[in-house]
């Protein structure tokens, strides 16, 4: 999504270095933060959760303690039933208690979820939405440094993790700890020796849990990374399939793929081996201790030190405590992961957007005057300025072409006008006012841009084209007004939209949309129709035209079009652009032809301004850039009407090339 200039101009090495440094700093500041501090940062989101979380915990503790009562009842029953005068009442009492508590336990478990899940999900959703709003206001340079995928995992995976932590992890950690403590306490009351033995098994199981998780997660991450490597091999083999087929190198691709896949397999197996060891430990240790407990318990019971009921209760308790004890280790691990997720969230939220509206914005009458005054620009972390003092005045209504050698900064210059990036020196003025003094909506409503790389959104064709009209129609709010468009007099009115749409589509030669399955209401993008590069470019152009701005910025808007279409669009554009200030980045003479004047950008400054013919005559640099590339045979062929072929005498064509009769 970066403008093409940046790739060639910005040295990637220092940039990466600085980014790494910044990332390192963020990690360190995250490590300095304690869990409590981190949680405190989330307070605004947790408001609705607090009380319900507390109730949820009470319910969870209730369920935990009830679970413990079953062994106690069982123990009592075993003792009571053994007495000579035991009656049915004993059994009925036990039954009653177990039944009542059993129902209550299930109810409490239900209550816990009922209390915490909705508010935890709300917190998750609110954090997600805040993150999005934060990111959408970040400047293009921020998004150049952060990959969308990176941000995406923060918005989904990390916040899912936090929901699980709030709704489950944090609560169950407290509850399980209490349950285990109480349970072991009861065991001690029955028999200190058996209780102590049990504790010997419980402590290592709890203590080793987090360490195991750490190791497991380590393997898990490596396996995930390796799965990425495998995916890369797959992508290459599919995209490069023509080359592979042409040289018969499928086997080579396959063997290098197999290597990566084998590494993945081995990592997965190592991971599972770690799990296997841990699971074995989790069974062997407690169960061996329990065997010891049987030995000791039976002996104690035979000596009359404990009752058979207590022994029975002890075993029952051991069974009940098995789950929470195993769980605690996992839950501790979850705390660490939640902490990391919170840190990752805060990292991004803490970065202030660097392109914002001023506190007290000025405005001015809309005329369409654009001035560059000694503009300097340097990409973050690049070693030198890409634009080194460019000065240029584009009169209202004028069409100005911007020409430079590849990577010369023309695309970048366009981005400075609507403040997608801010200048690093000098000023850009629109209608006589520094662009940084406008409120962003005010500034940007004066301007429409068609990017070289056309970005369309996953919605209908119509919504895409009408995006900048201030009447962006979406399915939920038909005719939704746009508060961010202060220039309503200039913007098309709602009742003019269809007309505007038709005109824009015609100008950009994008009438192909009528042939799409649902015409203008066809959904495009990810879940809809996929369009070709040329079609997308024409829609992006139509979108810019439909916005009816006073300043139109076109970044090589016809690059993906074939000669004939380009010619058509050029002719129509010339008509439509009358009266609209237009800055157009051009790489071909055909595009330049639309402009009144041409500005030549060379080595970071505007070195010459004049008409195409003037510049061709007096500037060798310009002539070098604009020397027309010869059209390809195919293009010429396409241009010569088919009739010519039939007319051709075709003297060289031997008879056996004629169509053979069936």
């Amino acid at each position: 999504m970066q403008p093409s200039d940046q790739k060639s101009s910005a040295d990637t090495t220092p940039q990466r270095g600085a980014q790494e440094r910044a990332a390192q700093e963020r990690v360190e500041s995250g490590q300095r933060r304690t869990l409590i501090q981190a949680l405190a940062r989330l307070t605004p989101y947790l408001e609705g959760l607090k009380l319900r979380w507390f109730f949820g915990m009470l319910a969870a503790i209730g369920a935990g303690v009830i679970a413990l009562s079953v062994p106690v009842v069982l123990g009592g029953l075993v003792d009571d039933i053994a007495t000579v005068d035991a009656t049915a009442a004993v059994v009925w009492t036990a039954f009653g208690i177990v039944l009542g508590l059993g129902v209550l336990e299930a109810f409490f478990v239900f209550l816990r979820r009922f209390f915490v899940i909705p508010p935890a999900s709300d917190a998750e959703t609110n954090m997600r939405v805040s993150l999005f709003s934060r990111l959408i206001h970040q400047s293009a340079s921020f998004h150049g440094a952060w990959e969308a995928g990176q941000l995406q995992s923060r918005a989904i995976a990390d916040l899912n993790m936090l929901r699980r932590f709030f709704a489950f992890g944090s609560l169950m950690l407290v509850t399980s700890s209490i349950t285990v403590l109480v349970g072991i306490g009861v065991m001690f009351s029955w028999s200190p020796i058996l209780g102590a033995l049990f504790l010997c098994a419980a402590v290592p199981v709890i203590a080793l849990g987090p360490a195991f998780r750490k190791k497991f997660i380590h393997y898990s991450r490596s396996a995930q990374d390796q799965a990425g490597e495998v995916a890369t091999k797959v992508e290459e083999s599919v995209h490069g399939i023509r080359v592979l087929k042409a040289f018969g190198r499928g086997d080579w691709a396959r063997s290098s793929f197999k290597e990566e896949a084998a590494t993945l397999r081995d990592l997965e197996v190592s991971k599972m081996r770690t799990l296997a060891k841990f699971q074995m430990f989790m069974v062997l240790l407690p169960e061996t201790v329990l065997a010891l407990c049987i030995f000791t318990g039976l002996y104690l019971a035979s000596q009359g030190d404990i009752t058979p009921g207590s022994l029975a209760g002890f075993f029952a308790m051991a069974v009940v405590l098995k789950q929470p004890i195993e769980g605690i280790g996992m839950l501790i691990g979850m705390v660490f992961m939640a902490k990391t997720s919170i840190d990752r969230h805060i990292d991004v939220m803490d970065i202030e957007p660097n392109v914002v509206s001023p506190e007290e914005p000025t405005t001015s009458a809309e005329r369409g005057l654009v001035e560059l005054e000694n503009v300097h620009f340097r990409y973050p972390d690049a070693s030198e300025d890409l634009i080194k003092g460019a000065t240029l005045r584009i009169e209202p209504g004028e069409t100005m072409a911007l020409v430079s050698a590849t990577g010369g900064g023309t695309s970048t210059l366009l981005n400075l006008v609507p403040r997608l990036y801010d200048v690093t020196g000098g000023r850009v003025l629109v209608d006589g006012v520094d662009v940084r003094e406008y409120s962003l909506p005010d500034l940007r409503s004066r301007i429409a841009v068609a990017f070289e790389d056309p970005t369309l959104f996953s919605t209908t064709v119509k919504s895409n084209v009408l995006l900048g009209t201030g009447h962006h129609r979406n399915d939920d709010n038909p005719g939704e007004g746009d508060p961010s468009h202060p220039h309503r007099d200039k913007a098309p009115r709602l009742d003019q939209l269809d007309e505007v749409l038709t005109e824009a589509l015609h100008t950009a030669d994008a009438e192909f949309v009528h042939d799409l399955p649902a015409g203008l209401d066809t959904r495009i993008g990810e879940e809809g129709m996929s369009l070709s590069g040329g079609q997308r470019q024409r829609l992006a152009l139509a979108r810019a035209i439909a916005a009816k701005p006073s300043v139109l910025l076109l970044d090589d808007p016809l690059s993906a079009l074939d000669v004939r279409t380009e010619e058509r669009v050029t002719d129509r554009l010339r008509e439509v652009l009358k009266g609209t200030t237009t800055l157009i980045v051009a790489h071909r003479p055909s595009t330049v032809a639309m402009a009144d004047r041409v500005a030549l950008l060379h080595e970071g400054t505007v070195v010459d301004v004049g008409t195409h013919t003037e510049l061709l005559a007096r500037s060798s640099t310009y002539a070098g850039i604009m020397r027309p590339a010869p059209p390809s045979g195919e293009e010429l062929m396409d241009a010569i009407p088919a009739a010519h072929v039939d007319d051709a005498a075709a003297p060289g064509a031997p008879a056996d090339f004629q169509e053979v009769q069936p």
Partner: protein
């Protein structure tokens, strides 16, 4: 490497691959499920019962085939799971029935066996359960990962073997997601505990069996509990499936919106859509939240309900058993064992329900993957291919006709064309005239529909694949570079080439200078898809690649058409060196390239309309002549 070579070669040609489902496909006229074969039905969502069965059978067949080689291991693993869970499920009965009812009275009577036997038995069970658990977790991982590896490889092999027409229809995105996200879904299932699923079921089974053995009446209580559990399970399965799908859809929408907004940030901001996009995201996030809460809520009903049923069973077992202890029919310790087992028996159900979702998506993934593996490549090597150790490069089309499908339009009309060895032939024509059909046939992306196409007199269809690849090389417009060094990319065509040979090839086509100017020369990593070097330079690397291959026949498919002027000048000289004395078929683009041809062919609507040397054609004043003057005119301006 040797294994791969033998395997790859053999399978690419005659389809002897173990997992190739296409072999089992009956001819279409006898095939009731022809409409479901291969990837045809991938987008369909509703199938009738028979169709479902067919697809499931196909998936199972794939799994069965993929398990070749690990079946013994899987069998041993299954036995280990059974024994281990049998041992683990027995522990409450040892602690209860054996220790308290049997051991304690004996011990009180002074018989030490009452002490030793239960403790030792418990220990044996514990050690058996624990060590077998370790063993079978490892074994399952090894076996399942081996199967997954086989599957991955097979899908990869199949993808490479399928002809380009398949790839053009099916799109790279789909192929990639078959190989990544679908196999990933399987991986998740294997990872996330198919193991635990099986062991959970085994545990439930054995616990039930023990309860039945210990006390048939308690067993009956358990049987009663199964009825509500069955209905509960059905309710959950039905609703969870819907909820899960909804969640998947809403999360996908949310993700698409997010990624689009972030990657298209400039458009969002330039058109002041920040707030509108945020509002919409909030809406999508809310929908996702609601779907999610509903989906979790289902589990929130399932879990306590299972617990309730479990607890009620425990109470019932306790009541009935308690009476019988009073009557002396049942030991108090055994009752304890039964009650504890009853409490534990339903525990794995939670987990099984949780794995249900990943089981679902793995099943769906397997269905798609098995569909892909059922596809047949159009171009295949014949059983006994003909060899061609040396090749002069003489090409002959005779009565050759081509259409993409049996009922499709004729793309290339019957063609007779003889290209003598060493001739450079340029083909010109308008878009869609059929120029690239010639190329596709010669490169054997497709076979001629009728007539013949021979190389040095050998029918291309009968020629051994590796001989064909050795003698015929192609350079395309999109000079694709693989991640790795420049050296590796050049040597792609000739893996055993020495460094000197690589450099020589680069020098020959004029790529050496720019390569040496790169930070690490020939060892420079080209990044993904050759990001760091220009289009012209990329094309030079691909020329060097072709030069190194030293083929008798060279095909240039619009190899310079996407280059700008300076880049074209850069590659022009290299191009001439590359052509040398080879037979060459050039899909022509620029006059400069056509000019170096010995002979020009003008094609229109799938047939040849002019044929001759450039000079003759210009002199004859035909179509090429007009083209040439138009060309010259633009060059002169």
């Amino acid at each position: 490497m040797s294994e791969q070579t033998s395997n790859g070669r053999a399978t690419a040609g005659d389809d002897t691959a173990a997992l190739d489902l296409s072999k089992m496909t009956p001819p279409p006229e006898q095939d009731d499920f022809a409409h479901l074969r291969g990837t045809a039905a991938e987008e369909d969502v509703t199938f009738d019962k028979e169709e479902r069965k067919f697809i499931r059978r196909r998936s199972l067949a794939l799994l069965w085939k993929a398990s070749a080689g690990v079946r013994g291991k899987l069998l041993l693993t299954a036995i280990a799971v059974i024994v281990s869970q049998a041992a683990q499920a027995a522990t409450p009965f040892i602690a209860g029935g054996l220790a308290i009812d049997w051991g304690l009275p004996r011990l009180i009577d002074g018989d030490a066996t009452g002490l030793w036997v239960p403790a030792a038995l418990y220990l044996i069970c514990a050690v058996t359960a624990g060590s077998l658990l370790y063993w079978y977790t490892r074994m399952t991982a090894e076996a399942s990962q081996t199967m997954l590896y086989t599957l991955r490889d097979e899908v990869f092999r199949k993808t490479q073997a399928l002809s380009l027409d398949f790839h053009e229809d099916y799109t790279s995105g789909k192929v990639i997601s078959r190989q990544t996200s679908d196999l990933e879904a399987l991986r998740e299932l294997l990872d996330g505990g198919i193991n635990q699923l099986v062991q959970g079921i085994m545990f439930m089974l054995f616990t039930t069996v023990y309860i039945w053995i210990s006390d048939i009446r308690s067993g009956l209580v358990l049987l009663c509990a199964v009825i509500p559990i069955y209905f509960l399970g059905r309710w959950y399965q039905k609703n969870a499936e819907v909820a899960y799908r909804r969640t998947r859809i809403s999360s996908a929408r949310m993700i698409v919106h997010f990624v689009e907004s972030m990657t298209g940030i400039r458009a969002v901001q330039a058109y002041r859509r920040e707030d509108a996009r945020s509002r919409q995201y909030r809406k999508l996030a809310k929908i996702y939240r609601d779907d999610m809460v509903r989906s979790i809520g289902l589990f929130g009903v399932l879990q306590p309900s299972l617990m309730l049923i479990g607890n009620l069973s425990v109470a019932a077992v306790l009541l009935w058993g308690g009476y019988r202890v009073l009557e002396g029919d049942l030991g108090a310790g055994l009752l304890l064992g039964i009650v504890l087992s009853t409490k534990r028996v339903f525990q794995p159900l939670d987990m099984i329900a949780m794995f249900y979702n990943s089981l679902q998506s793995a099943t769906a993934a397997l269905e798609k993957v098995s569909g892909l593996l059922e596809e047949t490549p159009n171009v295949r090597q014949v059983k006994d291919p003909r060899r061609l150790p040396d090749c002069a490069g003489e090409i002959e089309f005779r009565d050759a006709e081509f259409k993409y499908s049996a009922d499709g339009p004729v793309v290339m009309q019957k063609l007779d064309l003889h290209i003598p060895a060493g001739q450079t032939l340029a083909v010109v024509g308008r878009t869609g005239a059929g120029k690239s059909t010639l190329v596709k046939l010669l490169a054997r992306f497709y076979d001629v529909t009728s007539g013949s196409l021979t190389l040095d007199g050998v029918e291309l269809r009968e020629l051994a694949e590796d001989d064909h690849h050795r003698h015929v090389a192609m350079v395309t417009q999109e000079a694709f570079l693989f991640s790795g060094s420049i050296r590796e990319n050049i040597a792609l065509s000739q893996p055993d080439a020495t460094d000197d040979q690589v450099i020589e090839a680069a020098k020959a086509v004029g790529a050496h200078e720019f390569i040496m100017s790169l930070p690490e020369g020939y060892d420079t990593d080209v990044n993904k898809r050759g990001g760091r070097i220009s289009a012209g330079q990329r094309q030079l690397v691909s020329f060097a690649r072709a030069f190194l291959a030293d083929p008798a026949v060279l095909i240039l498919d619009e190899a310079t058409s996407s280059l700008d002027l300076p880049s074209e000048q850069l590659v022009q000289q290299g191009l001439e060196r590359l052509l040398g004395n080879r037979t060459a078929l050039i899909i022509a683009h620029r006059l400069s390239t056509v000019a170096i041809a010995d002979r020009v062919l003008v094609i229109d609507e799938g047939r040849v309309v002019e044929d001759g040397s450039p000079e003759d054609l210009i002199a004859a004043g035909g179509y090429f002549s007009k083209l040439h003057s138009a060309w010259s005119a633009t060059m002169g301006s």
